[in-house]
């Protein structure tokens, strides 16, 4: 009897969760489907769901018109570079905050977060002028630096919350064994914090990948990532839903696939210290 009740509940839960899940996912699914339609089918009334003549034409048009691989590569370099650089700088900072907390540690942490509240548009002009002076316009280096600085507070914050969960006794034991600061971080702390570092890495990679203000305003051709690629497909003349969908799919597919494969790592670490 009790089994039957739980069984029924499971069925209801499953139905409910799948409905909600599909509903949330639907816009993405629809975009992917539309990318395989012709422009005319894309706006057909009533809309066609699956029973249309699948075509790859949109993809070939997009590939012919833009150098997709270059945009993709720039995105990878910029998002990857800024994330890795950010982690290299943030690990020592987060370590010292977590294990040698001072009176001001919390203030410093919160101050770091507050730097993220500077409105980007407000400082576009100053940053643009600095970039011109330093010759960083349209360079991947420039964007790596800017995006690293943008995400640094989040990286420090996330790492800090993971490090705090590591019991101090282990470090002391390591110290007794004669481990120096470097060994302590490299051989004791880092391995324990791998899941945390992995999810920090993933989250910030996603944030950097999707950043669309600086990447668009500080690049022209050489360093332009996928956000700029998309900007050449939004609202051109004439019917464009199918081509827009193809370009959109191409812009989000890499990160979507990466996210799905690594979602366990991402989820396991994505707590921001919310769970004790």
């Amino acid at each position: 009897m009790a089994r039957a009740v739980t069984q029924n509940r499971k069925i209801i839960n499953t139905a409910a969760a799948w409905t909600v899940g599909l509903l949330i996912f639907f816009p993405i699914l629809w975009t992917i489907l539309t990318s395989f339609k012709t422009e005319a089918t894309a706006i057909a009334d009533p809309p066609v769901f699956l029973a249309f003549d699948w075509t790859l034409e949109n993809y070939s048009v997009v590939l012919e018109r833009s150098n997709y691989m270059r945009f993709l590569w720039n995105s990878v370099i910029i998002a990857g570079g800024s994330t890795i650089l950010g982690i290299i700088i943030a690990v020592p900072a987060a370590w010292s905050m977590a294990f040698v907390p001072g009176k001001r540690t919390k203030d410093i942490l919160l101050w770091m977060l507050s730097t993220k509240m500077l409105p980007a548009v407000g400082v576009l002009y100053p940053i643009y002028l600095i970039f011109i002076k330093m010759g960083l316009l349209d360079s991947r280096t420039g964007l790596v630096i800017v995006l690293m600085l943008m995400n640094l507070p989040i990286i420090v914050w996330m790492l800090y919350t993971y490090f705090r969960e590591i019991p101090g006794e282990i470090l002391e034991a390591a110290r007794m064994d004669g481990a120096g600061l470097k060994e302590e971080i490299l051989y004791v702390l880092t391995p324990m914090a791998i899941p945390g570092i992995a999810s920090t890495l993933l989250l910030n990679f996603i944030l950097a990948w999707n950043e669309a203000f600086w990447t668009l305003n500080l690049t022209a051709a050489k360093a332009a990532p996928l956000t700029a690629f998309i900007a050449s497909y939004s609202s051109p003349e004439g019917l464009f839903y199918a081509k827009l969908s193809a370009a959109s799919t191409m812009a989000i597919a890499p990160i979507l696939i990466l996210g799905w494969f690594s979602q366990k790592q991402l989820v396991s670490g994505l707590t921001f210290g919310a769970v004790k």
Partner: protein, 435 residues
């Protein structure tokens, strides 16, 4: 130094010289993602084939993003682009600041005298041509012959606004999703305000009087905007307040508009059977007037210009010469047909007997000739520009005024409120700019 080493060094030196002789110069071209420019990008292989030492980098962006990027870059002197696609609004302002390279020295074969005078004047500042027109446009009425016939009406060659309103009423059939009139409603100085400012001219309105006082509180503007709002709310498509050029184009191509008053370049899209379901039913007429001596049509030219900071001026000139030449026109005609050549820049195109067969050729030329950027309004004005005011502040003013009118069109405020706010914000912006 051993013999071997010196041979190596000599070879290296020779190779270095050889490479520098074939050194490629890269020019970065910022352009808008309109059909004609995308076609140019596709045909650019022809250019690089004859200019192996020039490499082209394309930055193709949606219009709003493009404008923001190039303005930012030229104002801050970022020097990221060698060729910029800009319009008749930017050229006089930037040219006067000496931010653009003069194109007076383009080769004689390019034939500057062939450029339509109205277009050329718009791109010239104190005798210096600062941009080469890629395509030019005015605005006109595009209408559905079959729907007009069904309604028992005939479209005059030069209609009045009242005739447009009557025709819109007669053609509207909301149950079948046919809307008598499609007009721009999306806010933006290059969207609804282009239409409204040009329309205002035909209603006797003007944006500023001779002493640069904003005129949105005038009787004429109230009449213009009320007419526009009534027309669109009565016979326009749903969501008109968010429709820009592209949205209206796709509505018209789907057969959902009876009439559409917009850029003359749209003619080649709506008559193209590949994209348009109504390709064989489109008629053309001049933009409407009110009998006051000015018609509601604008003048615009997407043009190629070289920012003064470019380090590849000569190469950029070569490219511009190619892209805006008669040969380029011929190239497009041979590959894609005469209907697809970039229109509205050269007299020779309109003398071409092949091009004369294109259904919208004559009406485009007449529309362009009917616009006068130096004397746009019924009353005298201190500015140039038909559908814009050629001052740096206009982009900001136009867009904000456009947002107020857009909100009035969506029914979120009355026309009076919108114009009151428009007047206040324009006065404020002008004050901030030091008028």
């Amino acid at each position: 130094m051993s013999l071997r080493n010196s041979i190596c060094a000599a070879t290296a030196l020779a190779m270095a010289t050889a490479t520098s002789a074939f050194a490629e110069t890269t020019i970065t071209i910022a352009t808008v993602n309109n059909g004609d420019m995308i076609r140019m990008q596709g045909l650019a292989d022809e250019f690089t084939a004859s200019h192996p030492d020039i490499k082209l980098e394309w930055v193709t962006l949606e219009e709003n993003v493009l404008r923001q990027r190039v303005t930012q870059d030229i104002a801050a002197k970022g020097g990221q682009f060698d060729v910029m696609t800009i319009g008749t609004y930017e050229v006089p302002i930037w040219g006067a600041q000496d931010w653009l390279v003069s194109l007076n020295d383009l080769p004689a074969a390019w034939d500057a005298d062939d450029i339509l005078p109205a277009i050329r004047d718009g791109l010239t500042v104190e005798g210096e041509l600062y941009a080469a027109p890629f395509y030019g446009e005015s605005s006109m009425v595009m209408y559905r012959k079959d729907l007009m016939e069904k309604a028992g009406l005939e479209m005059p060659e030069a209609p009045t606004w009242d005739q447009i309103k009557d025709a819109a009423a007669a053609m509207t059939d909301k149950d079948n999703e046919v809307y008598g009139i499609c007009l721009r409603g999306k806010a933006g100085w290059g969207e609804n305000m282009a239409l409204l400012t040009a329309m205002g001219n035909s209603f006797g309105a003007r944006t500023f009087d001779e002493s640069w006082t904003a005129q949105y509180d005038s009787e004429e503007w109230a009449t213009t905007v009320n007419f526009y709002v009534d027309l669109l709310n009565g016979y326009g498509p749903p969501g008109a307040s968010t429709n820009g050029f592209n949205e209206n184009l796709s509505l018209f191509q789907q057969g959902k508009c009876g009439m559409w008053i917009d850029a003359t370049v749209a003619a080649s899209f709506v008559t193209n059977p590949k994209d348009s379901t109504v390709a064989d039913q489109v008629g053309f007429a001049l933009a409407p007037d009110n009998g006051l001596g000015k018609r509601g049509n604008w003048l615009w030219a997407w043009s190629l210009a070289i920012p003064a900071g470019s380090d590849a001026t000569e190469e950029a000139k070569e490219f511009i010469t190619w892209a805006t030449s008669k040969e380029y026109t011929a190239l497009v005609a041979s590959k894609e047909g005469w209907a697809n050549v970039p229109p509205g820049t050269r007299s020779s195109l309109y003398q071409n007997t092949e091009y004369a067969k294109v259904p919208f050729a004559a009406m485009t030329l007449n529309s362009i000739n009917a616009a006068d950027p130096t004397d746009p309004a019924v009353e005298p004005v201190p500015y140039t520009g038909v559908q814009f005011v050629a001052i740096p502040e206009w982009a900001g003013i136009g867009t904000q005024v456009g947002q107020e009118i857009s909100a009035a069109l969506a029914g979120q405020q009355s026309v009076e409120e919108a114009l009151e706010k428009a007047q206040a914000l324009t006065t404020d912006e002008m004050e901030a700019a030091g008028y």
